[in-house]
Amino acid sequence: MNTNQLDHLSLMEDLLTVLGEENMSILYHHLERLGVKRNEISDKPDEFSKALRVIFGQAASILEAQIVSSIASRTGQSFGPRVTLVEALARLKAEEARSEKA
């Protein structure tokens, strides 16, 4: 699975399991008002992470870790415990680029 295939739904599925549908809908609503549409999160991980930090403070790292763990299980990649969402997606993209060259 690559970052293109790692669509929004699979990326956010575990977060949905944690926060519940209603909270996620509200979160999406506010994110969209900031210009981060729900299908653009994997393209704008910086903005998404920043928004999580603004809303959830220190809890943002748990939510990000949940998403990173979800990416890891879906892609078969192994990320260290402190890898952020931005780093995880960047790593996936870099690997894709490498394998495309090869």
Binding site: V18, G20, R33, E47, K50, I55, I62
Partner: protein, 192 residues
């Protein structure tokens, strides 16, 4: 959790220890504020020097009135060393403790009015009320607990959700005020 206790009454200290250890927490007990900050300081040095694999204390429970050094002074010194340290005061003098903590400390602390049932201490340490509120908001708390979150993280999660759900919450304003570089403001403007 790893918990540091400062309590001069041996019976009370023992009660805390038994109750907390029964819940699988690790307890380090000290007899007064002085001993407590000495131990806290040593622990921090060991941690910084990498000679200990233990994490810092998840919570420090301080009796308010103690010989040698009282709980308030101990709290001040601990927060100097570790500004975000979670501190829980156990005090029979709630009003005095509250007033003094607001005046003397830069950080919000938790306060238990003595005497209290031991379950109250356990519930406070384990954030039972916060988890209950998260559960009421349909958050899957089992998943959250799997990450072994700190008290600050659980509290921030609850506060974040309550903010989001507030009818007048203006995310754009909050982000703009926190992001002087205006990146989000720009993004939202360009999004129309």
């Amino acid at each position: 959790m790893r918990i540091l206790v400062a309590e001069d009454e041996e019976n009370i200290s023992l009660l805390y220890r038994i109750a907390l250890e029964n819940r699988h927490h690790q307890v380090v007990a000290t007899k007064d504020g002085q001993e407590c900050i000495e131990l806290f300081s040593r622990d921090m040095k060991d941690k910084n020097a990498g000679t200990e694999s233990k994490t810092l204390f998840d919570a420090v429970i301080l009796d308010y009135r103690m010989p040698r050094m009282d709980g308030m002074e101990a709290a001040k010194q601990i927060l100097k060393m570790q500004p975000k340290q979670r501190i829980i005061f156990a005090s029979a003098y709630v009003k005095e403790t509250l007033v003094e903590s607001i005046k003397e400390l830069d950080q919000v602390v938790e306060l238990l009015q003595k005497p209290f049932e031991i379950d109250v201490l356990i519930d406070t340490v384990e954030d039972k009320t916060i988890y209950q509120q998260l559960s009421d908001l349909n958050v899957n708390i089992k998943h959250i607990k799997d990450w072994n979150p700190t008290h600050a993280q659980v509290l921030d999660l609850l506060e974040g959700l309550l903010k989001l759900r507030a009818p007048n919450f203006d995310f754009q304003k909050v982000v703009a005020s926190k992001d002087k570089a205006g990146h989000f403001a720009h993004t939202s403007q360009s999004a129309g």
